[in-house]
């Protein structure tokens, strides 16, 4: 595909010097269509943080692809980065579509937005198999414990004892999608809270730098069906109970570490693109490179309905799908037609061998 000089289609009224990022784009170049979600929906906050993260990282919108399944969460890719291609797939089926698209063009960034119904129920199998394959993309689960578009049924991530107006009381144990991700060997597993934008932005930046699938399970309150004070997926619950399991700074490639942490307090993990995650070592802070500790932490949180956020598991070494498939620098989609069809002689040779 030919590369051309990028002409910004957005025209702004005043001509004063605009604030631009490292590739010369304004924040407005990362905007999407107007949201049709309920006012105050956690998903809109996350869309806004995706814009911030991509703007600040200087991700070219044309080099990012947006994926989603079906549900409130899955509508949101339309609400950020209109200059990026996007595909709203089928309920629970974001994973296979993203797998195919990002194999066809493994140089693109992928951001997928799914929900807890999408990922935790109908698409759980596809989710886990995508993680096994380690497709390079950010997989966001906007987790609110409830089905919104169908008006208030429990999802598989709802805690035991939760109550909803129409659905009653939930007695089924929740599926912890972070735990599922770790058991599927996902190399980046984090939990965030839509009510804590700063942390979400940091997690998103780190996730975008990952070499494989990065799972961000973001508790994103449903203001219409599941935001009452007793709900473990509500804003008030999050604000009062949010326990940060660790503190880290995302350091972009080439950027110098200007962390507020003292050198002895830091643990430094380099990501695929040369960026780094600098973790603060505190006595009670969780070390995400310790798999057993990560599982124990999640087990404890699940059992005691703790609202924990932070970087849960980080093990960035595993090759991604494109690497496993031995794909070269040229994405499959850019292989010219003349290399797609083998020669006449090759066919004649095969035919001769079958005579």
């Amino acid at each position: 595909m030919a590369t051309v000089n990028v002409v910004k289609p957005t025209v702004t009224a005043n001509s004063v010097a605009k604030r631009v990022n490292s590739i010369g784009l304004e924040r407005i170049d990362y905007k999407g269509a107007e949201s049709t979600l309920c006012a105050g929906c956690g998903h809109d906050s996350i869309a806004s943080q995706i814009i911030t993260a991509c703007y600040e990282l200087g991700v070219r919108p044309e080099r990012l692809v947006k994926f989603s399944g079906i549900g409130c969460s899955s509508k949101s890719p339309a609400y950020f980065m209109s200059r990026s291609f996007g595909i709203n797939t089928l309920h629970g089926r974001m994973a296979p579509v993203a797998t195919g698209a990002l194999t066809a063009n493994h140089k693109l960034y992928g951001i997928g937005v799914s929900g807890d119904g999408d990922t935790g129920s109908i698409g759980l199998g596809n989710f886990k198999h995508m993680l096994r394959r380690n497709v390079r993309m950010v997989y966001i689960i906007e987790n609110n414990g409830v089905y919104g578009l169908t008006k208030g049924q429990f999802s598989a991530t709802a805690d035991v004892g939760q109550e909803l107006r129409h659905a009653g009381r939930n007695e089924l144990p929740p599926i912890d999608l972070c735990m599922e991700a770790i058991t599927a060997e996902c190399g980046f597993v984090a939990r965030g809270f839509a009510g804590d934008p700063k942390q979400v932005v940091s997690l998103l930046k780190a996730a975008l730098s990952c070499n494989g699938t990065a799972v961000l399970d973001i508790i994103s309150p449903c203001v219409t069906f599941n935001n009452h004070d007793d709900s473990t997926k509500s804003y008030s619950w999050g604000r009062s109970k949010d326990e940060r399991i660790n503190d880290f700074t995302y350091v972009a490639p080439q950027e110098e570490i200007t962390s507020e942490f003292e050198p002895g307090e830091m643990k430094d993990v380099e990501l695929h693109d040369g960026s780094r995650i600098v973790l603060k070592r505190l006595e009670d802070s969780h070390d995400p490179t310790d798999r057993n500790a990560a599982m124990a932490l999640l087990q404890d949180a699940r059992q005691n309905q703790l609202f924990i956020t932070g970087l849960i598991y980080l093990q960035p070494g595993r090759p991604n799908l494109a690497q496993q498939e031995n794909l070269g620098d040229t994405p499959l989609v850019q292989i010219p037609n003349e290399k797609l069809r083998p020669s006449v002689e090759s066919l004649q040779k095969i035919m001769a061998a079958m005579a």
Partner: protein, 622 residues
């Protein structure tokens, strides 16, 4: 001389009596018979059977091989049938003149079912009451040979199969050089296994020459009717077709009888699609977690702009329904091979059927209708293998190719495949330069610019800022913006209907063989083609001239209408219970629907010429 006189014993204690074989010296039957080999699944008899098949092929005699096998890995009965026919009719025949009974579990039934005058070769350790007097018995010491000639007990069963190859070669007159050439093909030129197998073959042939004088009439003679031809199965042909069509991404889930397609992709792509400069593969094959995910990946890759395909069978098609419909409405190219079998669930997954015609054509919810290609031979599996990609990308829609177990898994002789006669057609794709030239508001993903219902698309990775769009199944306007406006959607559906009519004109046309003055027509498709050729010959011999139209795609071409109009009765011959194509033809030509008569049958086995000609004559005589 009889079996008894030869001293052969039947361990059942029933010694065949002198004179229990036909006494008159029969006229030789040359190059016109069927061989049925009854063995156990997983016993390695495939090597022996395909060796016989290819040896006959190398002798220049028209031949086909069919494996009638159970859904089982090891132990259950399997029959392999080889049809030898000098006139080139190699469709299935239900009976066989030569029976090879190696499986004790079925030997008695094989004996009872053998037709009059059959050559009955059996392993001499099987206890059988040889009380039929109309067969030619040939007991062969299979076990003894295998034990004496193979030290490794694990390989003895395999070697045992070579004993009947040698014995039969001797009796029929198959040149041992042709057997050796066939083994060389099978073992890809590896001398060691060829030699060890040939040793058994030669010993068995020598033993047969000394101990079992020929009394039966069946012989082979060299011909030149396979000169320049190849022998191949339809699944390999499909994969090769896809490769010469530029397949770049394949996702699949294991399923009988379609697995061979992915196997062949895995065999040939590493040889043919490594970039000469970078030495890296220019393709990717992914074994998915299920068929639903397989088509999801294919849709994702097709959306992102590469030629992508999946191969499956009926149960997989069921799981793919939602994605197939999605691909239709989001207008994403994909190629879906359906190697049809009986469905659903288990029981008869290794038996053939043409039962997915309607399901595949209309797969999805909400008015989806897909182009379907219907290959009638291994040659067309190759041809449609590459054409399917041109069609899918030109039409921006999923294209189905309906093969079946008979074409897909069985060996067929054919002319060598012809290299594609036209360049690859990638359809309507706008580059960054194109979008730039069109300017603001110029590119509209779902706008019909050319009147053929096909809009222009851009691909993810197109770096021009106005190139992107957001893909959804339904609810979009021409610019791919979310819209639930009735007029937007109605307009979109009208355009999709126009596109469907465009598809009708681009798909492979039917093949017509009209006979002047014939009032009866046969309309069919797919694997029914081979027996129909023979059935028409049989009907002509009985005084019934028939015209023949073989449709090769859905939606049906306009030529179908003319054919139905031109004949008083058109029998739609197909291998399913609901007469699915017959129903589609009637819908296509409602004004002459009364001409269209079902002639369908479904028992898990390929259609036979005898069944077809008998069924048509019965209907004609009513």
């Amino acid at each position: 001389m009889t079996v008894a006189e030869l001293g052969a014993t039947s361990p059942a204690g029933v010694k065949p009596l002198a004179g229990t074989e036909p006494e008159n010296k029969p006229e030789p039957v040359v190059n016109d018979f069927c061989i049925s080999v009854a063995t156990k699944n997983g016993s390695g008899s495939q090597t022996a059977n395909t060796t016989l098949l290819r040896a006959l092929f190398k002798m220049g005699i028209p031949v086909s091989g069919k494996n009638v096998f159970p859904s089982n890995i090891q132990g259950m009965p399997t029959w392999y049938t080889i049809r030898v026919n000098k006139d080139g009719f190699v469709g299935r025949r239900p009976d066989a003149e030569i029976i090879i009974a190696i499986n004790p579990a079925t030997a008695l039934t094989d004996l009872q079912k053998a037709g009059q005058g059959a050559l009955f070769m059996y392993a001499d350790d099987i206890k059988l009451p040889l009380n039929r007097t109309d067969l030619y018995y040939y007991p062969i010491p299979v076990k003894k040979f295998a034990t004496e000639n193979e030290k490794d007990p694990k390989l003895r069963t395999y070697m045992a199969n070579m004993v009947y190859v040698g014995a039969l070669a001797q009796l029929l007159g198959i040149d041992l050089e042709d057997i050796e050439a066939a083994l060389m093909y099978h073992f890809r030129g590896k001398r060691k296994p060829v030699d060890s197998n040939m040793k058994v073959v030669r010993l068995a042939a020598e033993w047969t020459a000394t101990n079992l004088p020929k009394r039966d009439p069946y012989v082979v003679q060299k011909m030149n009717k396979t000169d320049g031809m190849i022998m191949i199965d339809g699944n390999t042909a499909a994969a090769l077709g896809a490769i010469y069509g530029g397949v770049t991404f394949a996702a699949w889930y294991p399923i009988t009888p379609a697995t061979g397609v992915a196997d062949a992709l895995n065999e040939y792509l590493p040889r043919l699609r490594i970039d000469p400069e970078t030495k890296m593969p220019t393709y990717s094959i992914i074994q998915a977690e299920d068929e639903l995910a397989a088509l999801g990946m294919v849709i994702g890759a097709g959306w992102a702009g590469v030629r992508s395909m999946t191969s499956t069978s009926g149960p997989g098609i069921s799981l793919m329904a939602e994605f197939a419909g999605y691909g239709y409405f989001a207008e994403i190219p994909a190629v879906i091979w359906d190697v049809q079998r009986m469905g659903p669930s288990t029981g008869m997954p290794t038996r053939v059927s043409q039962g997915d015609v309607i399901a595949a054509h209309w797969l999805g919810h909400g008015d989806s209708k897909h182009p379907v290609l219907l290959p009638g031979s291994v040659n067309e599996c190759f041809e449609f293998g590459w054409k399917a990609f041109d069609l899918a990308e030109r039409l921006q829609t999923p294209v189905f190719v309906l093969s079946d177990l008979d074409i897909g898994m069985n060996q067929w002789m054919t002319k060598p495949f012809e290299y594609p006669d036209r360049p690859i057609d990638r359809g309507k794709v706008l580059t960054a330069e194109d979008v730039k030239r069109l300017g603001v508001g110029g590119f509209k993903r779902y706008k019909d610019m050319d009147g053929d219902g096909i809009a222009w698309r851009t691909l993810p990775g197109n770096e021009y800022p106005l190139a992107s769009y957001f893909t959804r199944g339904t609810g979009h306007d021409e610019q791919a913006h979310l819209s639930e406006r009735p007029e937007d959607w109605e307009g979109n559906m009208e355009r999709l209907t126009r596109k469907y009519e465009t598809a009708r004109t681009l798909l492979p046309k039917p093949i017509e063989e009209s006979v002047a003055g014939a009032t009866v027509g046969i309309l069919s498709y797919g694997s029914a083609d081979m027996p129909i050729a023979e059935a028409r010959h049989q009907l002509a011999e009985k005084g019934l001239q028939t015209s023949y139209l073989r449709v090769r795609a859905l939606p049906l071409a306009e030529e179908v209408r003319a054919f139905v109009q031109a004949h008083q009765r058109v029998y739609v011959v197909e291998l399913n219970t609901d007469a699915q194509m017959c129903q589609l033809v009637r819908l296509h030509v409602p004004e002459v629907a009364a001409h269209v008569i079902p002639c369908n049958h479904s028992d898990g086995l390929p259609l036979t010429a005898n069944w077809i000609s008998t069924a048509i004559l019965e209907k004609e005589n009513k």
